[in-house]
Structure formats: structure tokens, C-alpha cells
């Protein structure tokens, strides 16, 4: 039985580690720290494997989010939030009405989203989680996830120099 569980754990790591590492990179902002938190998260998963092996991905996503938040908290204690407080409007000098947003501008705008909004955006639109799965990963309500999604889209538009449209946010 232990051998089967071990093989399942190995298979999970083999199948999912790259996707999880990519999510972690987007949550913490650099590969080195993402590798560290993924390693820590896998250690915790291994110790809890018997109880969480039926839904390991949900468990490890929660751990990754918590570890990423710890890292941000530590970083905030060390340096000021210059990135966020200095966030300005990013405009490309083009009319955004007819084309999709400039991707470099989108990248810079995403980097300036507040932490919770960025978490929601990464989990929903990169990891492709549902609202319910995102809420579970962030240990919050579905309503909060929808609110953060909506605010993130609005903030992105603001940073991209566009007016907020009346539109369905897919939430």
C-alpha cells in the first residue's frame, strides 16, 4: 500500500511539477524563490499524502499561495512598496479601441496589480481554475474571488489607460 502511495506521489510530481512551478513563479515573481516554495510545498504534501492523495493539487495550491504570501510579507518588511505606490498609468500612445492591448503593457500592468488581485488573475487565467477552485486555493469565498477578478480587470484597464467597460467579466 505504501509503495502504491509512493508511486502515486512520484507520478504526481512527474506530471504536475512544471505546471505548479510556473504558477509559483507567477505568484512570487522569480524562479529561484518559486523553486524553493514548490520544494517546501511538496515536502508538506508528502507528509500529508495519505490524507490528501485524492486531491493533491488542491492541497498543494493552498500551500503555494500561503508560502507566496509569507514571502511577500517578509519582502514588505524589508522594503517599501515602491512598486505599488509608484504605479502609474501605462499607455502605449495608441488608440486601444480597435486592437487588443499591447502585451508588454499588459505584462507591466499585471506586475502592478495588488497581491490578492494578482493571485486571482494567476489562478483563474493562467492555472485556469474555476471560481470555486480559486476560492478554495485562496481560502476565501467565491464572492470575494469574483470581486477581486472584477477589480483586477478594472485596475488593468486603468493601468492600460482605458475606461472601464460595462461588460461581463466572466465571473
Amino acid at each position: 500500500m505504501q509503495r502504491e502511495l509512493s508511486a502515486d506521489f512520484d507520478r504526481f510530481v512527474l506530471d504536475r511539477s512544471t505546471a505548479l512551478l510556473r504558477t509559483a513563479v507567477l505568484l512570487v515573481g522569480d524562479v529561484g524563490h518559486a523553486e524553493d516554495i514548490l520544494q517546501t510545498a511538496l515536502m508538506r504534501l508528502a507528509t500529508r499524502w495519505t490524507s490528501v492523495h485524492t486531491a493533491p493539487e488542491a492541497f498543494i495550491r493552498q500551500v503555494l499561495v500561503n508560502l507566496a504570501r509569507d514571502r511577500w510579507r517578509r519582502a514588505r518588511r524589508r522594503v517599501s512598496e515602491q512598486e505599488l505606490t509608484n504605479a502609474g498609468v501605462v499607455t502605449g500612445g495608441r488608440d486601444p479601441a480597435d486592437t487588443v492591448a499591447d502585451r508588454d503593457a499588459v505584462r507591466r500592468a499585471l506586475a502592478r496589480l495588488p497581491g490578492r488581485q494578482r493571485e486571482v488573475v494567476v489562478l483563474r487565467f493562467f492555472a485556469e481554475l474555476s471560481v470555486a477552485e480559486t476560492a478554495e486555493a485562496l481560502r476565501t469565498s467565491e464572492g470575494t474571488v469574483k470581486a477581486h477578478t472584477s477589480r483586477a480587470v478594472a485596475r488593468l484597464r486603468e493601468l492600460l489607460g482605458e475606461k472601464i467597460t460595462e461588460n461581463v467579466h466572466g465571473v
Binding site: 509503495r3 507520478r11 510530481v13 514548490l38 511538496l42 515536502m43 502585451r103 487565467f125 484597464r157
Partner: protein, 259 residues
């Protein structure tokens, strides 16, 4: 005006592009998890491991200019990488031909071997022109030998095979015993940079040359140091049901059992 859906499509594209080049190393992750677990259980084991890596420094042949610290690192990383593949299936293959068992004069083909990485099961298959000649497997569950030329097979109760396979555990023991030396960078294998190791002979064991991936430190090729030996290319297969099934020879329908 850009719609929300268009904006979110851009968000997806940008996020994916940001991490497109990020790839995990599952073998190393598995190794670190196992290392962490074993440290919690037996923290004192770390000491001999470090000592073994340090001892390996002095085993560099005098004519090799490789930096000692690099040697210790190679062996330590190889040791760590092997922790991550203990549950896997080892697949080896090499071209085979005239003079080798099961092959007829002038016949050329392929020899393949599968091993459970813990040494508990073994399978060998010889084939020529894509057709299997012989397929045999050994494990505690039973020994099977299938001769495809005569369409016959033999089956008998089995026992754990005692084959000359370099399991992760056996390689790690050779590192601890100081029998492995780093002989320098190896030639690239399928475009992958390698590091070449030498495992010294001992008692009835023949010396082995081994090439490990310079990034993952997993063995990619090995060859016995003896006349006429063939290098085997090694692949580490995850323990999926399909790969574990490769460890057991299947008896085709219609084959006749012989004594």
C-alpha cells in the same frame, strides 16, 4: 474598445509567455523530498553522506586536472538525483548483432532490458527488424521465457533476480564506498552534455564507465570495461501502470508451453 474577453485573452497569453521557459526538474524535486524525509527520520545519516562526498575528492586520479570541489559536487548531485528515481523503471537499450546470444549469424537488432529500480524485477527482449526474437522476465512473481522463433514458452516459479544491474541504490553505495571517480566531461549524448564517471572493479564485479546528464545527474549510458562490451543507453521511466507492465513478459496467444 477592447472587450473584457479580449483583455483576458491577452492576460492569458502574457502569463503563459512569462513562464514558457520555466521547467521543473521532477527527479531533483523527488530527491529533495526524500532527502528531507530521511533527515527527519535519521538525521545522523547526513554526516556519512557528506563525509563520503568529501572522501571522493581524494580519489581523483592525479593526472586529472578537475577541481576537487567539482568532483564532490558531481558525486553529491548524482547521489541526490538517484534518490529521486528509486521507484522508477530503468530501460536500457543497445544495438545487438552477430555473436550475441539469441542472434543468428549475420543478424542485427536490438537488445532491451527493463529493471525495477529496486532490483525486484527484470525483463530482457531481443528483436531484429522490429520482430521479437526472445522475451524473458524474472521476478518473485515468476520467471517467463518466450521464444518467438519456435512459438514456445517456459514458465516457472520465480525469485528476485540477481542481475548485474546498476540500481540507484547500488550506484549510491559505490559512491559511499569511494569506488566512483569523476573522469571528466563526457561526450554529448543526443545533444545532452554529460559527465563521465568510472566505477572501479571489485571482486567479481567488472569496472563500469558511466555517463551522467550534466544537468540532472542521472545516468544516461553505461558500459562494462571489458573487450567487446556494448554501451547501453539508459532511460528512467516513471512508475506508470504502462511502464511497470513493461517489467513482465507477456505470453502471446497460441504459443506452446515446453519444459
Amino acid at each position: 474598445m477592447v472587450s473584457d474577453n479580449e483583455l483576458l485573452d491577452d492576460v492569458r497569453t502574457v502569463l503563459r509567455a512569462e513562464v514558457a521557459n520555466v521547467t521543473a526538474n521532477p527527479a531533483e524535486l523527488l530527491a529533495s523530498v526524500r532527502r528531507g524525509q530521511s533527515r527527519r527520520r535519521w538525521p545522523w545519516l547526513v554526516v556519512p553522506l557528506v563525509a563520503a562526498a568529501a572522501a571522493a575528492v581524494v580519489l581523483v586520479p592525479a593526472e586529472q586536472p578537475a577541481a576537487p570541489v567539482e568532483v564532490a559536487q558531481v558525486l553529491e548531485r548524482t547521489n541526490t538525483a538517484l534518490d529521486g528515481v528509486r521507484g522508477m523503471v530503468i530501460h536500457e537499450q543497445a544495438p545487438a548483432g552477430e555473436g550475441e546470444k539469441y542472434f543468428e549469424p549475420g543478424e542485427r537488432g536490438l537488445s532491451e532490458r527493463w529493471h525495477a529500480a529496486d532490483g525486484s524485477a527484470f525483463r530482457y527482449r531481443a528483436s531484429a527488424d522490429g520482430r521479437t526474437i526472445v522475451d524473458l522476465s524474472r521476478s518473485a512473481a515468476g520467471d517467463v521465457f518466450v521464444d518467438h522463433r519456435t512459438r514456445t514458452y517456459r514458465a516457472k516459479p520465480g525469485e528476485t533476480p540477481d542481475d548485474e544491474v546498476w540500481t540507484p541504490e547500488k550506484i549510491q553505495k559505490a559512491i559511499r564506498d569511494g569506488r566512483i571517480t569523476v573522469t571528466g566531461p563526457g561526450e554529448p549524448i543526443n545533444g545532452t552534455q554529460t559527465v563521465r564517471l568510472h566505477i572501479a572493479e571489485r571482486k567479481a564485479e567488472t569496472a563500469v564507465e558511466m555517463w551522467v546528464d550534466a544537468t540532472t545527474y542521472l545516468p544516461m549510458r553505461w558500459i562494462l570495461v571489458q573487450d567487446g562490451a556494448t554501451p547501453y543507453d539508459v532511460t528512467w521511466l516513471p512508475p506508470t501502470p504502462e511502464n511497470l507492465a513493461q517489467l513482465k513478459t507477456q505470453i502471446p496467444d497460441g504459443f506452446t508451453e515446453v519444459d
